[in-house]
Assembly symmetry: C2
Homo-oligomer: 473 residues x 2
Amino acid sequence: GISVHTRTAAESIDQKGKVVRAIHRETGEIRDFSYDQLVLATGARPILPDIDGLSLSGVHTLGSIEEALGIRKEIDIGRRKVVIVGGGLIGMEVAESLTERGADVTVVEVKSHILPQLLDREMAHLVEKHLAQNKVTVRTSTTVLALSGDEEGRVAAVKTSRGDIPAELVLLAVGVRPNVTLARDAGLATGPLGGILVDETLRTSDPDIFAGGDCVENRHMVTGAPIFAPMGSTANKHGRVIGDNLTGGSTRYPGVLGTVILKIFDFHVGATGLNEQAARAAGIDPVTAVTPGPDRAHYYPGAKTLFLKGVVDRDSGRWIGVQAAGPGEAAKRLDMAALAIAHGIPLEGIALADTCYAPPYANALDNLVHLATTLENKMKGLSDAYTPQEVKEKIDREEEFVMIDVRTPPEYRESRIDDPRNRLIPLGKLREQMATLPKNSEIVTYCKTSLRGYEALRTLRGAGFRNVRFMDG
Amino acid sequence: GISVHTRTAAESIDQKGKVVRAIHRETGEIRDFSYDQLVLATGARPILPDIDGLSLSGVHTLGSIEEALGIRKEIDIGRRKVVIVGGGLIGMEVAESLTERGADVTVVEVKSHILPQLLDREMAHLVEKHLAQNKVTVRTSTTVLALSGDEEGRVAAVKTSRGDIPAELVLLAVGVRPNVTLARDAGLATGPLGGILVDETLRTSDPDIFAGGDCVENRHMVTGAPIFAPMGSTANKHGRVIGDNLTGGSTRYPGVLGTVILKIFDFHVGATGLNEQAARAAGIDPVTAVTPGPDRAHYYPGAKTLFLKGVVDRDSGRWIGVQAAGPGEAAKRLDMAALAIAHGIPLEGIALADTCYAPPYANALDNLVHLATTLENKMKGLSDAYTPQEVKEKIDREEEFVMIDVRTPPEYRESRIDDPRNRLIPLGKLREQMATLPKNSEIVTYCKTSLRGYEALRTLRGAGFRNVRFMDG
């Protein structure tokens, strides 16, 4: 059977004696619980930023239902000027719900774009635009320095690196931290991110003690590195693995991809795996593509746009991440991507997958199928465009190719790529000088905006040059 | 470049000379087109049932936009009594759209339930109920014998094996057949299902002739058998494979799962892979589970029920099919299932997948995750219930176990399982006779409705018997 002891706080673990000592919160009674196997599910709590003014009235974290009810009450009695510190997942969800309750919300984010762990900059910008349309003010690249109050001890303003923001209510949403006091005091190992260290069976450094949920560190399935990913869905799955292993099973938890989805007004926003920035930080050379498109047949009533961004490891050809944003359906594409990444389904496996098709649900080629196809083309070099970054890398690798600057001589004089591969042939002169170009080398054309570069590519291809690209952007 | 010749019908293919002879539909001009490689995309056309009355006015197939416009016109001038012959995908889609246009629709299906290729009976029954709620009459197990008309040659009734159905408009939706005349006349091989035979590169029996879309047979990814699955999404993917292979690539089309989705009023209905019936027909011993559940957090506004049915191959443990029906979101679950089936992702890979979680999109355990978990439990024998079929198989395998009929002696006398394993111990006598039961053999309890059987299981487990199941249903 199951006995539940409420208002009873575990104080310490005696690993040798296999006893948990607990104290009753009201009576103060101390009680020892002996165990054969023990499970720690101590969760996480909101991080408090290291600034002055946290104890002012009107400053809240987002860790409990009591706090949520308190915040709602303050809004309802007219405290409408709300500043949310932190533009992550929780900050965004709260920004939406308080705006819909009538609040005037400003989100302050220290990084250069919102949802920085989730999205690359260009995807985040789509979301920032949507927030602005819904009257949420977003201040990025802005550090909160302190909270200041009035004479009555109520918060009045948020002092930031970019000036003061008036505030009647301040919500701290800068993340959560695992609760590991009990585990650490018992001498259980914790990881580099501060969570309890567990193996794939979710055993801690003491094999008779399991831990799961927000108090542990997970393993990232792409990088293999530790990741702190406190999600209810992950905690649920931990529960199943622990339950199975407690009763003699040998289930292994495969790790996480950091999959997240959230609704922000009419946008569905999410990601799974690594974004481009995180891929580069992990030493991966990414190939990326962004594919906007309708989320169902474009002629079907209610079709909405979804932006997908895919990230592939250039060396292995493996999917490593997908991001989604827009009013179009996103969860389906992210969940398919999560399976593709976790199970090493190649791009072609998605590009040719037998997915659901009917006008109310998808195009004949689903958005993720289209993304896979686009990434495959890029991987096969079938795309006509190089990014400036790619051209730079070709130069760095000392590849042999010819660059043709098709701008005008005055533009060329003003600024140019100083490299022996580089030649100036203004677009108007391309036909007459074409004979001087090597037929067997790769040619990369470029201009200022890429328009003339693309025209030069078409001209050269029309004249029989096969290995021509243009530099994009 | 691409030249398009409209109103030009290909008449014959000269494979040796590599020439297609075509005729202009208006001028009658004959023209030969020579080719290096040729692609056939001749599509499919509606099957006409072999019955009298097809030429009556008011009888339509569903093969062209002209026909669709004609049908709409007839509805709009007041011909509201519509009989749709065929309860498959197209029949259902048309039933919905004509009902919404004001028609009074009856669907006649020869099989015992609608969507017979897609759904097992219990799943189809959910859809039939929903059709009835939307005033569509469904007549299953009903064979259309003939169409009868009035003096003016207009259709007036559909004669069936179960009586006449008055009709002002009859739509024939009994399926489509590949157009293979051109291919067959040229001597290209066709398959057992009547489609053009192609290999994985989508080459026909002549390696310089490709074929794709509704005119070819596909390979089913689970059974490896030929399948005729005319879907726009498949045709699109064929196009990509052929395009790549025409230009020197070597892309292989992996085959199909028969994935289908359709909207029927407020229901989302679909399937991928094999249903239970198809699995048995293919000689597979299936383990199945049906899991109804809300499509997002049950407390989130707009949460709707989705029924999922999963089919697993008992021997290999592999997913082989998933069906979905209900007002809840279905496409996401089917697409994930399609990937799991195609790429051999084990049940555990879905049960522990890092899928999207937020209340507007899913439960902490997504519906498909829940289905995978349930199937895993069944595969591991962790489910408390045996189906009658499973008990029969245990007897057939001559397994050693004890069956306890916990009904009353009168019920026992009326009908019983005649098998030496079987014992009558009425529920009320179970405690006193318990000592006579073997502690080490498996015990299966049963009654009439499974209620007393389950109570007996609880009683025995409470008394320390560990290996007890009950027979369900």
